[in-house]
Symmetry: C2
Subunit: 247 residues, 2 copies
Amino acid sequence: MTSRQNRTRDRAERGIPEATVARLPVYLRALHALQDRGVATVSSEELAAAAGVNSAKLRKDLSHLGSYGTRGVGYEVEYLVYQISRELGLTQDWVVAIIGVGNLGRALAGYGGFASRGFRVAGLLDADESVIGQEISGMTVEHIDRLEEIIAERGVSIVVIATPAAAAQTVCDRVVAAGVTSVLNFAPVVLTVPEGVDVRKVDLSIELQILAFHEQRKAGGPDGYDPMAGGVSGNGRASGYVEAVEA
Amino acid sequence: MTSRQNRTRDRAERGIPEATVARLPVYLRALHALQDRGVATVSSEELAAAAGVNSAKLRKDLSHLGSYGTRGVGYEVEYLVYQISRELGLTQDWVVAIIGVGNLGRALAGYGGFASRGFRVAGLLDADESVIGQEISGMTVEHIDRLEEIIAERGVSIVVIATPAAAAQTVCDRVVAAGVTSVLNFAPVVLTVPEGVDVRKVDLSIELQILAFHEQRKAGGPDGYDPMAGGVSGNGRASGYVEAVEA
């Protein structure tokens, strides 16, 4: 590898702030929506509006990917989809196992948004004998006893934990011991993992709390008028999520 | 109201950046965990670590609430819980209706995290005759035809849409026409709402995409070593979500 290649790798691999990484999926969602409408190029202002961020931030974020657009034309939608997908690692298939097939696990198993983003659910596991063998979204629920075997055989690299809170840490420990280093946790509990393992926790009530904040302001009447509420409303059309990731 | 009260209201109601609002639920979660362990006071460093942000940002966020802690002592956990809860509007009960009781709607109906945060689910609605009348988490599923009536009678202020994508906009239009101005959207579609209505969209695949980014870096071996992965891992213990809201 030449030193120039090294520098390029360095920029791409070390230079992307975590907050930018968190916004890339939001840009990608907006770009997919543009593709669906047959749009070939998009200005930074249009894309920023669709994603709910300001355009300076968008341009800065995309510059980390080495993507600067063309003056007067903007960004090529298809190429930008490719660049962001490559950056996020979505140009390859990620094999996912879901542990815990209660209502949430079932909802996740049937969630169309995973497959379309390069995530292939290759295993549904549970400890409850009464659900083992059930067919859910075209897959058969397997026993948690086979966890290590399934992870190894199917090349599972990301595990989704959707068990009750009490079971989550034990399951997580087994998953980590089996060599998995990426865990998405839906259980309402904080998981402890060794260095080198990424855990992301989804708290379904956080978005509700943010809505409550604005609802309270609106309920306050003229005295409680919240100038931010309008902004959220405007962004809400594109994606409320962006509000949460924009600083 | 005196002018001093006015200034206080102004600071509290107009001065909180949206990114701070998005982090308040994360601090609240960390504080609740401290309360569960019987901790009475917490330093900004400890609380920041538990929430996965840096302590300067935490102190700045809390200063927007007029909360500055005590030098050498830190923050009083109970009082800070009260302050943040009040700020977020969680000291009052919010009445929530869930529309669409597929797997996701059922999972949300049974989600303990709502009730403990001041959200009371007062209605489960669906259009599918075969589920109307079913008991889910102690509630009876009602027909979507009764939507307007239920919203008015029970004082529903936040609606959670968990319908299939194709039904979501129609449901949203009815909800908005019935006077609801806060919508949490789980359907994989972008909803259009008039000014003054807040929509927040939950995309369950976004967190997976962020995991994939780091997984890709880790898979790259020494050349692909990602210095950020360690940071995420460290924060992941407390809350991966914070990564998404910290700029």
